[in-house]
Symmetry: C2
Subunit: 145 residues, 2 copies
Amino acid sequence: MLPPSTRRSLPMTLLRAREVIMAHFRPMLARHDITEQQWRVLRVLAETGPLEATELANRASILPPSLTRIIKALEERQLITRNRVKDDGRRALLAITPSGVTLIEDLAPERIAIYEAIEGRYGAEQYEQLLDMLESLIQSESSED
Amino acid sequence: MLPPSTRRSLPMTLLRAREVIMAHFRPMLARHDITEQQWRVLRVLAETGPLEATELANRASILPPSLTRIIKALEERQLITRNRVKDDGRRALLAITPSGVTLIEDLAPERIAIYEAIEGRYGAEQYEQLLDMLESLIQSESSED
DNA sequence: AAGATGTAATTCACATGTTAATTACAAACA
DNA sequence: TGTTTGTAATTAACATGTGAATTACATCTT
Protein backbone atom coordinates (compact mmCIF):
# COMPACT_ATOMS: atom_id res chain seq x y z
CA MET A 1 0.00 0.00 0.00
CA LEU A 2 1.28 3.38 -0.96
CA PRO A 3 1.39 6.06 1.71
CA PRO A 4 -1.39 8.55 1.17
CA SER A 5 -0.09 11.60 -0.63
CA THR A 6 -0.20 14.73 1.44
CA ARG A 7 -3.03 16.00 -0.69
CA ARG A 8 -5.26 13.08 0.24
CA SER A 9 -4.24 12.38 3.79
CA LEU A 10 -7.17 12.24 6.16
CA PRO A 11 -5.82 14.68 8.78
CA MET A 12 -4.95 17.25 6.11
CA THR A 13 -8.29 16.88 4.41
CA LEU A 14 -10.13 17.28 7.70
CA LEU A 15 -8.06 20.36 8.39
CA ARG A 16 -8.83 21.92 5.03
CA ALA A 17 -12.51 21.11 5.31
CA ARG A 18 -12.70 22.73 8.70
CA GLU A 19 -10.85 25.71 7.32
CA VAL A 20 -13.22 26.40 4.44
CA ILE A 21 -16.19 26.13 6.79
CA MET A 22 -14.78 28.34 9.51
CA ALA A 23 -13.88 30.98 6.94
CA HIS A 24 -17.59 31.71 6.69
CA PHE A 25 -17.91 32.37 10.41
CA ARG A 26 -14.78 34.39 11.10
CA PRO A 27 -16.07 37.80 9.93
CA MET A 28 -19.08 37.44 12.22
CA LEU A 29 -16.91 36.49 15.19
CA ALA A 30 -14.51 39.34 14.51
CA ARG A 31 -17.36 41.84 14.41
CA HIS A 32 -18.34 40.77 17.90
CA ASP A 33 -14.76 40.62 19.17
CA ILE A 34 -14.93 36.99 20.19
CA THR A 35 -12.76 34.03 19.27
CA GLU A 36 -13.98 30.79 17.85
CA GLN A 37 -13.15 28.96 21.07
CA GLN A 38 -14.81 31.54 23.28
CA TRP A 39 -17.91 31.22 21.16
CA ARG A 40 -17.87 27.43 21.57
CA VAL A 41 -17.58 27.75 25.34
CA LEU A 42 -20.50 30.17 25.51
CA ARG A 43 -22.67 28.02 23.26
CA VAL A 44 -22.03 24.91 25.32
CA LEU A 45 -22.94 26.74 28.52
CA ALA A 46 -26.03 28.23 26.89
CA GLU A 47 -27.20 24.83 25.64
CA THR A 48 -26.30 22.74 28.66
CA GLY A 49 -26.47 25.00 31.67
CA PRO A 50 -23.75 25.42 34.31
CA LEU A 51 -20.88 22.96 34.07
CA GLU A 52 -17.61 22.23 35.81
CA ALA A 53 -14.43 22.94 33.92
CA THR A 54 -13.59 19.34 33.05
CA GLU A 55 -16.99 18.65 31.57
CA LEU A 56 -16.97 21.95 29.73
CA ALA A 57 -13.55 21.21 28.28
CA ASN A 58 -14.78 17.87 26.99
CA ARG A 59 -17.93 19.24 25.45
CA ALA A 60 -16.18 22.17 23.79
CA SER A 61 -13.17 20.10 22.72
CA ILE A 62 -10.76 22.45 24.39
CA LEU A 63 -7.76 21.35 26.44
CA PRO A 64 -7.62 22.31 30.12
CA PRO A 65 -4.79 24.85 29.81
CA SER A 66 -6.61 26.65 27.02
CA LEU A 67 -9.86 26.57 28.93
CA THR A 68 -8.21 28.17 31.94
CA ARG A 69 -7.21 31.14 29.80
CA ILE A 70 -10.55 31.33 28.03
CA ILE A 71 -12.46 31.26 31.31
CA LYS A 72 -10.34 34.10 32.60
CA ALA A 73 -11.05 36.22 29.53
CA LEU A 74 -14.78 35.49 29.52
CA GLU A 75 -15.03 36.17 33.24
CA GLU A 76 -13.33 39.54 32.83
CA ARG A 77 -15.84 40.44 30.14
CA GLN A 78 -18.62 39.26 32.45
CA LEU A 79 -19.93 36.78 29.93
CA ILE A 80 -19.62 33.90 32.40
CA THR A 81 -19.46 33.46 36.17
CA ARG A 82 -17.74 30.91 38.32
CA ASN A 83 -19.01 29.64 41.65
CA ARG A 84 -17.17 27.29 43.97
CA VAL A 85 -18.72 23.91 44.55
CA LYS A 86 -19.35 23.37 48.26
CA ASP A 87 -17.59 20.36 49.75
CA ASP A 88 -14.91 20.44 47.06
CA GLY A 89 -12.57 23.40 46.90
CA ARG A 90 -11.07 22.32 43.60
CA ARG A 91 -14.14 22.48 41.44
CA ALA A 92 -16.22 25.42 40.33
CA LEU A 93 -19.45 25.69 38.41
CA LEU A 94 -19.21 27.82 35.30
CA ALA A 95 -22.37 29.53 34.09
CA ILE A 96 -23.20 31.92 31.28
CA THR A 97 -24.47 35.36 32.30
CA PRO A 98 -27.48 37.16 30.84
CA SER A 99 -25.23 39.31 28.68
CA GLY A 100 -23.50 36.14 27.53
CA VAL A 101 -26.87 34.74 26.51
CA THR A 102 -27.63 37.97 24.70
CA LEU A 103 -24.41 37.69 22.73
CA ILE A 104 -25.18 34.12 21.70
CA GLU A 105 -28.70 35.09 20.72
CA ASP A 106 -27.45 38.00 18.67
CA LEU A 107 -25.20 35.68 16.71
CA ALA A 108 -27.72 32.88 16.28
CA PRO A 109 -29.61 34.15 13.21
CA GLU A 110 -26.49 34.74 11.18
CA ARG A 111 -25.11 31.41 12.35
CA ILE A 112 -28.18 29.63 11.08
CA ALA A 113 -28.08 31.49 7.78
CA ILE A 114 -24.48 30.47 7.23
CA TYR A 115 -25.25 26.83 7.90
CA GLU A 116 -28.21 26.92 5.57
CA ALA A 117 -26.09 28.40 2.83
CA ILE A 118 -23.51 25.65 3.24
CA GLU A 119 -26.17 22.97 3.23
CA GLY A 120 -27.69 24.54 0.17
CA ARG A 121 -24.46 24.39 -1.78
CA TYR A 122 -23.40 20.96 -0.57
CA GLY A 123 -26.79 19.30 -0.41
CA ALA A 124 -28.76 18.63 2.75
CA GLU A 125 -28.62 14.85 2.45
CA GLN A 126 -24.90 14.84 1.76
CA TYR A 127 -24.44 17.17 4.66
CA GLU A 128 -26.22 14.86 7.08
CA GLN A 129 -24.43 11.85 5.69
CA LEU A 130 -21.07 13.52 6.11
CA LEU A 131 -21.84 14.26 9.74
CA ASP A 132 -22.91 10.67 10.27
CA MET A 133 -19.73 9.34 8.73
CA LEU A 134 -17.57 11.64 10.80
CA GLU A 135 -19.33 10.62 13.99
CA SER A 136 -18.87 7.01 13.00
CA LEU A 137 -15.16 7.63 12.48
CA ILE A 138 -14.89 9.29 15.86
CA GLN A 139 -16.64 6.30 17.39
CA SER A 140 -14.42 3.75 15.71
CA GLU A 141 -11.23 5.54 16.70
CA SER A 142 -11.88 6.92 20.16
CA SER A 143 -10.20 5.33 23.16
CA GLU A 144 -9.76 1.67 22.39
CA ASP A 145 -7.19 1.05 25.08
CA MET B 1 -34.47 25.36 11.10
CA LEU B 2 -32.93 24.79 14.50
CA PRO B 3 -29.32 25.77 14.98
CA PRO B 4 -27.14 22.69 15.08
CA SER B 5 -26.37 21.70 18.63
CA THR B 6 -22.74 22.05 19.55
CA ARG B 7 -22.39 18.29 19.52
CA ARG B 8 -23.40 18.04 15.88
CA SER B 9 -21.94 21.19 14.41
CA LEU B 10 -19.79 20.54 11.39
CA PRO B 11 -16.70 22.48 12.54
CA MET B 12 -16.73 20.75 15.92
CA THR B 13 -17.20 17.35 14.38
CA LEU B 14 -14.37 17.93 11.94
CA LEU B 15 -12.20 19.05 14.83
CA ARG B 16 -12.97 15.96 16.88
CA ALA B 17 -12.45 13.66 13.93
CA ARG B 18 -9.08 15.18 13.24
CA GLU B 19 -8.23 14.85 16.89
CA VAL B 20 -8.93 11.13 17.18
CA ILE B 21 -6.89 10.49 14.04
CA MET B 22 -3.92 12.61 15.05
CA ALA B 23 -3.83 10.93 18.44
CA HIS B 24 -2.50 7.85 16.67
CA PHE B 25 0.41 9.75 15.14
CA ARG B 26 1.53 11.93 18.03
CA PRO B 27 3.61 9.31 19.90
CA MET B 28 5.57 8.62 16.71
CA LEU B 29 6.18 12.31 16.10
CA ALA B 30 7.23 12.86 19.69
CA ARG B 31 9.74 10.02 19.51
CA HIS B 32 11.39 11.75 16.59
CA ASP B 33 11.16 15.20 18.16
CA ILE B 34 9.20 16.72 15.32
CA THR B 35 5.92 18.57 15.28
CA GLU B 36 2.93 17.69 13.16
CA GLN B 37 3.41 20.81 11.04
CA GLN B 38 7.12 20.25 10.57
CA TRP B 39 6.32 16.73 9.41
CA ARG B 40 3.81 18.09 6.90
CA VAL B 41 6.33 20.54 5.50
CA LEU B 42 8.96 17.84 5.09
CA ARG B 43 6.52 15.45 3.45
CA VAL B 44 5.36 18.06 0.95
CA LEU B 45 8.94 18.86 0.01
CA ALA B 46 9.81 15.17 -0.24
CA GLU B 47 6.82 14.48 -2.49
CA THR B 48 6.96 17.59 -4.64
CA GLY B 49 10.55 18.71 -4.76
CA PRO B 50 11.81 22.23 -4.02
CA LEU B 51 9.12 24.87 -3.60
CA GLU B 52 8.83 28.54 -2.83
CA ALA B 53 7.36 29.52 0.50
CA THR B 54 3.94 30.57 -0.78
CA GLU B 55 3.38 27.35 -2.67
CA LEU B 56 4.67 25.32 0.27
CA ALA B 57 2.34 27.14 2.64
CA ASN B 58 -0.63 26.35 0.41
CA ARG B 59 0.22 22.69 0.00
CA ALA B 60 0.91 22.15 3.68
CA SER B 61 -2.06 24.26 4.79
CA ILE B 62 0.10 26.42 6.98
CA LEU B 63 -0.18 30.18 7.24
CA PRO B 64 2.80 32.32 6.20
CA PRO B 65 3.74 33.50 9.70
CA SER B 66 3.78 29.92 10.96
CA LEU B 67 5.75 28.75 7.97
CA THR B 68 8.38 31.40 8.59
CA ARG B 69 8.98 29.98 12.05
CA ILE B 70 8.86 26.38 10.91
CA ILE B 71 11.35 27.03 8.12
CA LYS B 72 13.70 28.60 10.61
CA ALA B 73 13.51 25.58 12.91
CA LEU B 74 13.93 23.05 10.12
CA GLU B 75 16.83 24.98 8.64
CA GLU B 76 18.60 25.03 12.00
CA ARG B 77 18.21 21.28 12.22
CA GLN B 78 19.52 21.02 8.66
CA LEU B 79 16.45 19.17 7.47
CA ILE B 80 15.80 21.72 4.73
CA THR B 81 17.81 24.30 2.79
CA ARG B 82 16.82 27.61 1.28
CA ASN B 83 18.30 29.10 -1.88
CA ARG B 84 17.53 32.51 -3.26
CA VAL B 85 15.82 32.68 -6.60
CA LYS B 86 17.89 34.66 -9.08
CA ASP B 87 16.13 37.70 -10.56
CA ASP B 88 13.84 37.98 -7.55
CA GLY B 89 15.34 38.79 -4.18
CA ARG B 90 12.10 38.15 -2.35
CA ARG B 91 11.65 34.50 -3.15
CA ALA B 92 13.65 31.48 -2.11
CA LEU B 93 13.48 27.84 -3.07
CA LEU B 94 13.06 25.52 -0.13
CA ALA B 95 14.35 21.98 -0.48
CA ILE B 96 14.54 18.96 1.78
CA THR B 97 18.04 17.72 2.63
CA PRO B 98 19.20 14.09 2.53
CA SER B 99 18.85 13.80 6.30
CA GLY B 100 15.36 15.22 5.95
CA VAL B 101 14.56 12.52 3.44
CA THR B 102 15.99 9.94 5.81
CA LEU B 103 13.73 11.16 8.59
CA ILE B 104 10.66 10.94 6.38
CA GLU B 105 11.64 7.49 5.22
CA ASP B 106 12.19 6.32 8.77
CA LEU B 107 8.68 7.40 9.67
CA ALA B 108 6.99 6.07 6.55
CA PRO B 109 6.46 2.42 7.58
CA GLU B 110 4.83 3.29 10.86
CA ARG B 111 2.77 5.94 9.12
CA ILE B 112 1.45 3.39 6.66
CA ALA B 113 0.71 0.90 9.43
CA ILE B 114 -1.31 3.49 11.33
CA TYR B 115 -3.36 4.35 8.25
CA GLU B 116 -3.99 0.71 7.52
CA ALA B 117 -5.18 0.15 11.07
CA ILE B 118 -7.60 3.04 10.81
CA GLU B 119 -8.90 1.85 7.46
CA GLY B 120 -9.29 -1.62 8.90
CA ARG B 121 -11.45 -0.41 11.75
CA TYR B 122 -13.47 2.07 9.73
CA GLY B 123 -13.72 0.14 6.49
CA ALA B 124 -11.70 0.82 3.37
CA GLU B 125 -14.69 1.79 1.25
CA GLN B 126 -16.11 4.10 3.88
CA TYR B 127 -12.68 5.59 4.28
CA GLU B 128 -12.41 6.44 0.59
CA GLN B 129 -15.95 7.71 0.50
CA LEU B 130 -15.32 9.98 3.45
CA LEU B 131 -12.29 11.45 1.73
CA ASP B 132 -14.33 11.99 -1.43
CA MET B 133 -17.08 13.73 0.48
CA LEU B 134 -14.65 15.97 2.30
CA GLU B 135 -12.93 16.94 -0.93
CA SER B 136 -16.31 17.67 -2.42
CA LEU B 137 -17.15 19.88 0.54
CA ILE B 138 -13.87 21.72 0.15
CA GLN B 139 -14.65 22.23 -3.51
CA SER B 140 -18.15 23.51 -2.92
CA GLU B 141 -17.03 25.96 -0.24
CA SER B 142 -13.68 27.26 -1.42
CA SER B 143 -13.46 30.81 -2.68
CA GLU B 144 -16.67 31.53 -4.53
CA ASP B 145 -16.26 35.27 -4.50
C1' DA C 1 15.17 57.89 -13.49
C1' DA C 2 11.48 58.78 -9.80
C1' DG C 3 7.30 57.77 -7.78
C1' DA C 4 3.24 54.82 -7.35
C1' DT C 5 1.50 50.31 -7.02
C1' DG C 6 1.77 45.39 -6.28
C1' DT C 7 3.69 41.17 -4.19
C1' DA C 8 6.49 37.84 -1.08
C1' DA C 9 7.99 37.34 3.19
C1' DT C 10 8.55 38.65 7.69
C1' DT C 11 7.43 40.69 12.12
C1' DC C 12 4.23 41.88 15.85
C1' DA C 13 0.73 40.99 19.17
C1' DC C 14 -2.22 38.09 21.07
C1' DA C 15 -4.98 33.57 21.43
C1' DT C 16 -4.81 28.74 21.42
C1' DG C 17 -2.62 23.90 21.12
C1' DT C 18 0.34 20.70 23.46
C1' DT C 19 3.01 18.35 26.93
C1' DA C 20 5.07 18.31 31.38
C1' DA C 21 5.30 20.00 35.91
C1' DT C 22 3.13 21.97 39.77
C1' DT C 23 -0.44 23.43 43.04
C1' DA C 24 -4.59 22.75 45.72
C1' DC C 25 -7.49 19.97 47.41
C1' DA C 26 -9.92 15.30 48.56
C1' DA C 27 -10.03 10.70 49.85
C1' DA C 28 -7.97 6.50 51.51
C1' DC C 29 -5.32 4.43 54.97
C1' DA C 30 -1.92 3.20 58.33
C1' DT D 1 -3.70 12.45 63.27
C1' DG D 2 -0.38 12.19 59.70
C1' DT D 3 0.94 10.20 55.37
C1' DT D 4 0.09 8.50 51.00
C1' DT D 5 -2.48 8.38 46.84
C1' DG D 6 -5.59 10.33 43.57
C1' DT D 7 -7.85 14.16 41.14
C1' DA D 8 -9.05 19.07 39.36
C1' DA D 9 -7.08 22.96 37.93
C1' DT D 10 -3.44 25.84 37.02
C1' DT D 11 1.11 27.19 35.52
C1' DA D 12 5.22 26.90 32.55
C1' DA D 13 7.44 26.55 28.19
C1' DC D 14 7.31 26.28 23.61
C1' DA D 15 4.92 25.77 18.89
C1' DT D 16 1.27 27.18 15.98
C1' DG D 17 -3.00 29.98 14.52
C1' DT D 18 -4.64 34.48 13.24
C1' DG D 19 -5.03 39.21 11.63
C1' DA D 20 -2.65 43.54 11.09
C1' DA D 21 1.38 46.05 10.11
C1' DT D 22 5.86 46.27 8.14
C1' DT D 23 9.83 45.33 5.20
C1' DA D 24 12.08 44.16 0.95
C1' DC D 25 11.76 43.77 -3.70
C1' DA D 26 9.50 43.99 -8.43
C1' DT D 27 6.95 46.11 -11.68
C1' DC D 28 4.34 49.63 -13.71
C1' DT D 29 3.72 54.47 -15.02
C1' DT D 30 4.89 58.78 -16.41
